[in-house]
Subunit: 652 residues, 2 copies
């Protein structure tokens, strides 16, 4: 350590450790393969350790805890009070006033009869109130899942020519979506939705918002012959090719209500206390526009209306589910895509509000709740439902305390279904279009996109891919492309791991990246590298090439500076969390390669698993002699420097 | 640091750093996005820095170096001596004696006319001698690529009913294989072949060896009506259902030559000096068996022979290539699969012998050489060729010094093509079958499989999947399944990164895994975790849950031991090599979550890129205050302990 010793003014330099003080690298305590497999499986599937609370409890308590685990209502139900109910009834009525017009609108987005949207706002919230663990989630149909369900089914079956089959396929898709969601939860494979990163979701939602808004051009402009495609180009060309069908009455009405709704939204965003302004606006619009149409008999002047709706509660639909036949593939595919998308939305919303109010939402449990809700829904004339972003926010702002607000909403929808359906006969479609546009505009998150641009350019590219993929290709393909790029990035990180060159921070035994800490200095005769990734088949070739290049570059520089050549190559393995058989042979190859250059390979701090595997290799002794394995870089440098000194003095 | 101070008998404890000595974590030197992109691209595509040698050279030298880079023959050609030639001629003749019978056999394996195998041993070696950088590679057709080419094309076109089309498709596939290989090299995407790990290759090769050997049952048993399928089950059932077709003369002859060839192989394996025994055995068998058939007119007694072969050199075949039409998809797919498989074999063989003789083989350059060789081959009646395992080993043992041994082999094959073809008329197919079986048995590597079982159980499973996938499903699917499992493992590692709990090794400022180093001790009030993976969208949810669980578990244990509760959560980020936007928000969420438990979040040693992205977040100051970012765990613990002491004394 001569070169730094001169710079070093501190009396006791930690680096000056005598060889006696060097700490041994020991293999980790022995565990059998079964034990390892068990702990690996536990980490993979039960990272949250759901059984922790059951430990050290008497049997009776265990049963109660288990029942509470399955039915969260048993957890909060017994402590439910009138005070909580007062809050829940206000928020429940508020979201009901939003859920009724949105339910009708979203059902139309999915090419389903409007009443199915209301059915879907009645049964699923009741199921969720019993099974769900989020207190803020407002359950019902949502825009994106409706859009995807409709667009995927329309590719094969026409909702106009064959409405019954279309309805059957929608219910069947809902069944498979629920089945898939529940199985993900049951098999604890919830991490699959983690592959939809924040960047993907922001791009995807913005793209979906654009697509959904464009679809509303049909009702906003009053066009009757509209394209069935979803992309930006065909929709716009269809809208402008049918300019003769535009109805000024519809456009005027749509424009007025759109301005009203957007203004209401703006007020609520400015002052969160006035949440009821935007929450009530859709219902007010529906009532107002219905009265207007009724008063002026506007349905005869080019304004299309919903028309007669059936009264009564959800009819059973289990006999309508398709479990075989030619459409089974389509139904399963649609169920998978809508299932995963709606699950992502539901879980994300649940987690967001849980974090705000500081309680836990168990992802896998939520998946089972949402899945079961959709399976039951598919048997009672409901289509895919989940926790909606916009309505949950309103629910939260309106002061919801428990899932009882969902029950209140559900009862309100029930009353509507039983007694108020005739009132919707004259509701114009254009208002429903305006309500959808206002709802989905909130899905475009510009500030988050800017933040992503600032932090990570690659994530921004992924976001753009999702966005443009959705608006120009298709909703599913845009999503698939973005996920593929994200996974490719992860694989690229694994294939091209970072290797950092370390230098000593003078006066300490700390070694840090030379290119980051400018005061760190090289130690002559040593090349110290830190490998920052698990070593496996995908990167051994690269690592070997890269390390040899580090040596070559270093020697070229040393030639110029006329310094001594490298004697030791120290690899800091602290960050190598795992290794496989290819990785083990890397060290063998590397040792051979550097020995030809007269350099000795020294390993520092391999973690337990890596050390075990290195030791298990046939030629372990070759790779790791007693002088080539150290616990810290500092100790390795100190010990090897003293042997170097010893050798050079004996040579003299 | 009180609890350890008592155990610590050393006079100067490094952990007792006064707060003044704490080292600052500084952001890395600024680099623009373009600079970062450039260095990232360089690391990804030019890890070996091929332009390093051009630096600081005069222009003339640069031109010479460039020419040598493209044509390695210019590098070793000028220094070529008669002494080297003597070695090369011996090794060249040796591999020729192996290449001629193997060429004929492998062409039959691919359902191609036997002469195509000889054509393919003539042109490609000449091309490789000019372009290739390996000195030991013996170029020609190989068993696995022949098997795949044949089996993939046979699925669509019958080589018996439509031999001309089959031949055209084989050449076209060769063209696309070469094009694909050369583009991989040119675009520097060579890392794609790294995804075929050693474990996959061992399983795959063993499976392919079984499949290839089973195919030889046709010629070894003398069956005329044999299945066209490849799997274990159909082939065995076909062999035993046609028991009436078995010919005892063929079986006897096959058995004798198989025993002879295996004995020769055994001798050479025992004594590498006697390499010529196994190298010459196939040619001896061919000559002997041909004489036997000719002498006894055995072709009339149930022994099938090759028959008349055309004389003359490779006819041009560029007019036979298919660039459009209904078979284009098949041809491209076949080209891709055989291209990547033969590339893997060629590169692996080249690297193995380069490592033995201590010279460098540039992967991307080799890909271009092999690719160009196949493109030129496809225009001169050759099918897919690469560097063969078995023949390269013989070449190396026979003392090959340069690629001239390939030229010698090529000339020998040329002489054969021009003058000796009539001699092969009576060569029996059963001997060719015996030669193939002997060659592919060497591909089954039991010791390597045992080694994999010892080191890494998961790799062993991957190997078994490749093996059973190949023998029971199909060659391509077996390979695809094994690659998919390997990639899934990598993704699982990323999704479920390790978190280690660190403890202090008494008497030092070293912190290591508590579950690995049993003498490491916890420091009361601190929970120190090390995260061992890049933090990204795929693992943020897991990491948050897991870290919260660490805190809960730790507090449960502390409750029992009646120790003080956690005050600080220290996250050692040394091993976090990268982060994305989701990762940045993890720290925000985590800070909120632990603050609710009265715990402060402290970060230690984020690497340059991670630190930069954390600082760029809008609320960077929230995450990283002045007291929550340290350079080492030791310094963090020392500094925070002193503030704890200060607080508790001021409270008193």
């Amino acid at each position: 350590m001569e070169p730094n010793a001169s710079n070093n003014m501190q009396p006791d330099n930690c680096l000056e450790i005598t060889p006696m003080e060097v700490h041994k690298v020991v293999p980790p305590p022995h565990r059998s393969t079964i034990q390892k497999l068990k702990s690996r499986l536990k980490e993979t599937f039960f990272p949250d350790d759901p059984l922790l609370q059951f430990k050290r409890q008497p049997l009776g308590t265990k049963w109660i805890l288990a029942a509470q685990y399955v039915f969260p209502i048993l957890q909060w139900g017994p402590n439910y009070s009138f005070k909580l109910f007062k809050s829940d009834i206000v928020s429940g009525l508020t979201i009901a006033s939003l859920a009724i017009p949105q339910g009708i609108s979203y059902a139309k987005l999915a090419s389903l009869p409007p009443i199915v949207g209301l059915y879907s706002s009645f049964v699923p919230p009741l199921v969720y109130a019993v099974l769900g663990s989020s207190r803020d989630l407002a359950v019902g149909p949502v825009s994106i899942a409706s859009l995807i369900l409709g667009s995927m089914l329309r590719q094969e079956v026409s909702p106009i020519n064959d409405p019954l089959l279309f309805l059957q396929l929608a219910f069947s898709s809902t069944f498979f979506a629920g089945l898939f969601q529940a199985s993900l939860g049951l098999l604890r494979l919830g991490f699959i939705i983690d592959f939809l990163s924040k960047a993907i979701l922001i791009g995807f939602m913005a793209g979906a918002a654009v697509i959904v808004s464009l679809q509303q051009l049909k009702s906003l402009l009053g066009i009757t012959h509209f394209t069935k495609q979803m992309g930006l180009v065909p929709v716009l060309s269809s809208a402008f090719h049918n300019i003769n069908e535009w109805s000024w009455q519809t456009i005027l009405m749509g424009f007025c209500f759109l301005v009203f709704l957007l203004l209401a939204r703006h007020v609520s965003m400015r002052k969160p206390k006035l949440f009821w302004v935007s929450a009530g606006a859709p219902l007010v619009s529906v009532i107002l526009s219905t009265i207007l149409v009724f008063a002026f008999k506007a349905q005869h002047h080019g304004i299309s209306v919903i028309g007669k709706l059936q009264e009564g509660l959800n009819p059973p639909s289990w006999n309508m589910l398709h479990f075989h036949g030619s459409n089974l593939g389509l139904v399963i595919k649609t169920g998978l895509v809508t299932g995963i998308i709606s699950l992502t939305e539901g879980i994300a919303v649940g987690r967001t509000f849980a974090a705000l109010k500081n309680y836990q939402v168990d992802g896998n449990k939520e998946m089972m709740a949402i899945g079961l809700m959709n399976v039951i829904g598919s048997a009672t004339s409901c289509y895919v439902t989940t926790g909606a972003f916009s309505r949950s926010a309103v629910n939260h702002n309106a002061g919801a305390k428990t899932a009882v607000s969902n029950v209140v909403m559900s009862v309100t929808v029930m009353v509507t279904l039983l007694f108020l359906m005739p009132l919707f006969q004259y509701t114009p479609n254009v208002v429903l279009g305006a309500i959808i546009v206002t709802a989905v505009i909130g899905l475009i998150d510009f500030p988050a996109a800017c933040q992503i641009w600032k932090i990570d350019k690659f994530d921004f590219v992924v976001m753009l891919c999702a966005f443009f993929g959705v608006i120009f290709i298709s909703v599913q393909d845009g999503l698939a492309i973005a996920v593929a790029i994200s996974i490719f990035k992860i694989l690229l990180q694994v294939t091209r791991p970072k290797t950092l060159i370390l230098g000593n921070i003078p006066g300490t035994d700390i070694f840090r990246n030379l290119h980051h800490y400018k005061d760190a200095t090289r130690i002559p005769g040593f090349l110290i590298l830190s490998i920052e990734a698990p070593i496996n088949f995908a990167n051994t070739t690269y690592l070997k090439e890269r390390i040899v290049r580090w040596i070559n570059e270093y020697e070229t520089e040393e030639d110029i500076k006329k310094q001594s050549s490298i004697r030791f190559l120290i690899l800091d393995l602290s960050a190598v969390s795992a290794i496989d058989t290819s990785g083990v042979s890397l060290f063998k190859d590397l040792k051979k390669a550097v020995e030809n250059k007269g350099v000795e390979l020294v390993l520092v701090n391999p973690v337990g698993e890596v050390l075990e595997k290195l030791l298990r290799a046939d030629d372990a002794r070759d790779i790791m002699g007693p002088d080539t394995l150290y616990l810290t870089v500092g100790e390795a440098v100190a010990a090897l420097s003293s042997t170097m000194k010893g050798q050079s003095s004996s040579n003299v």
